[in-house]
Amino acid sequence: MPSLYREARTKSTMSTLLERHIVELLGEQNEKAISLLYEHYGDTLYGVAYKVVKDEELAQDVLQESFVKIWKKGDSYDSTKAKLFTWLFRITRNTAIDKLRSLSTKSEKEIQIDVSNVYNLGVDKIKPEFMDVREHLEKIEPKYQIVLDALFFQGMTQQEASDELDIPLGTIKSRLKIGLRELRKIYGNGMVLIPLLIAIL
């Protein structure tokens, strides 16, 4: 067990090192920061944008705008308040929501609707080409995914999710708990795999 602990620590230290490096470059207005961010978080943030706007072209616009914002706000990131990814996620998600809002105000036909209702709750149809990226997702049952989705992407409170999905609050709470535990399992697996690999080598 001590070796596992050490590996886990090494992994987190390594990611922190990379993050710290990126944050430093961002502060120095070094373009390399954007390259590194794109390489490490581009796909994930593109997924985040897509989850909100449900359109590939729009999602690309959102990603572009988000990176420009990240670039401009680079010196305002505070590592004591949030992990780098949390900060990136917030910017991207909010940019995507703003994009949807501006679209819904642009098209007069549409009535002003609450952002959380812009897209329907549910599991997305997964395109075959994304299957490899999303293999982990299948490990979580849809009923847990929906609750996690409501929490992380749609920013619903548990009460709101209960109302929206017509599921009792208690069930939402327990499903969220299980969903998060499943997530941790997947997250934890990565850490178990590394010492295993090292052991094999």
Binding site: Y46, K81, T86, F89, F130, R134, Q158, R184
Partner: protein, 252 residues
């Protein structure tokens, strides 16, 4: 204490904060809880980890060329910023130069104005001087050239027998002048002073300087039956004539 944390965690505020959906006040409250309670901090960190994991599960392959597009936009942004900074520096320098030169020119204009005032005043004084002198010369000319002008030779009395003066009196034009030609030398502390008795009052006409005044006509106040006197007074002149020191008198 436990209850407080439990209630806080039940409000979903932490989740809202995680996604950046809290107001400024709510954010401050959440940040306070995170800083104060290890349990809240642990939950927050777990939520952050879970968020990253869950988001990574939804990762999509970014299309080719998007990275280049983003980098081009960033570069344009940076170039704009650099250009702005360059303009800002240039504008600052220009402002300083402008302020400096403004002060310099203001200062210079101020000096010129002062000089202008001085020169103007000088011109005015000169003009006034000239006018009075011209007037004086004109009057002298009138007096000297006028047929009704009478000429009186003035000689000093015993006290100054060498004194010689010529007085010109014109009763028509009511002008009178005196030209003191010769004055006996006086000790250093004495001087000659001219007086005129006009309507019973003694009027001081000033000190006669020995040499320079040789060809100068001195105007006398005109009055019917007036008398002018030359007296010897202490150097610098006197307020009232010293009667015993009268050296000459001119009646006209």
């Amino acid at each position: 204490m436990k209850d407080k944390i439990r209630i806080f965690l039940d409000t979903d505020l932490l989740e809202k904060y995680l996604l950046g959906n809290t107001s400024l006040e709510e954010s401050q409250q959440v940040e306070r809880y995170i800083a104060m309670y290890p349990e809240v901090r642990k939950t927050y960190n777990e939520l952050q980890e879970n968020l990253e994991t869950f988001a990574k599960m939804h990762a999509l392959k970014t299309p080719e060329g998007l990275k280049t597009k983003i980098l081009v936009r960033i570069r344009a942004q940076q170039a704009g910023r650099r250009k702005f900074r360059r303009y800002a520096i240039a504008a600052t320098i220009a402002a300083f130069i402008f302020a400096g030169s403004s002060y310099f020119f203001w200062n210079q204009s101020q000096n010129l104005q002062q000089e202008n005032t001085i020169v103007n005043n000088k011109i005015k004084t000169l003009e006034a001087d000239m006018r009075s002198q011209l007037e004086d010369v004109r009057n002298q000319f009138i007096v000297l050239n006028n047929p009704s002008t009478r000429k009186y030779m003035v000689n000093g009395n015993k006290k100054a027998s060498e004194l010689k003066a010529v007085a010109y009196i014109n009763p028509v034009k009511k002008l009178s002048y005196i030209n003191v030609r010769n004055l006996p030398h006086l000790p250093e502390d004495k001087c000659y002073q001219m007086w005129a008795e006009v309507n019973g009052e003694m009027v001081n006409l000033g000190v006669i300087k020995e040499i320079q005044d040789k060809d100068k006509l001195l105007a006398l106040p005109y009055a019917e039956k007036a008398i002018s006197y030359i007296t010897i007074e202490p150097k610098g002149g006197n307020d009232t004539p010293t009667v015993q020191n009268i050296v000459a008198n001119i009646k006209y």
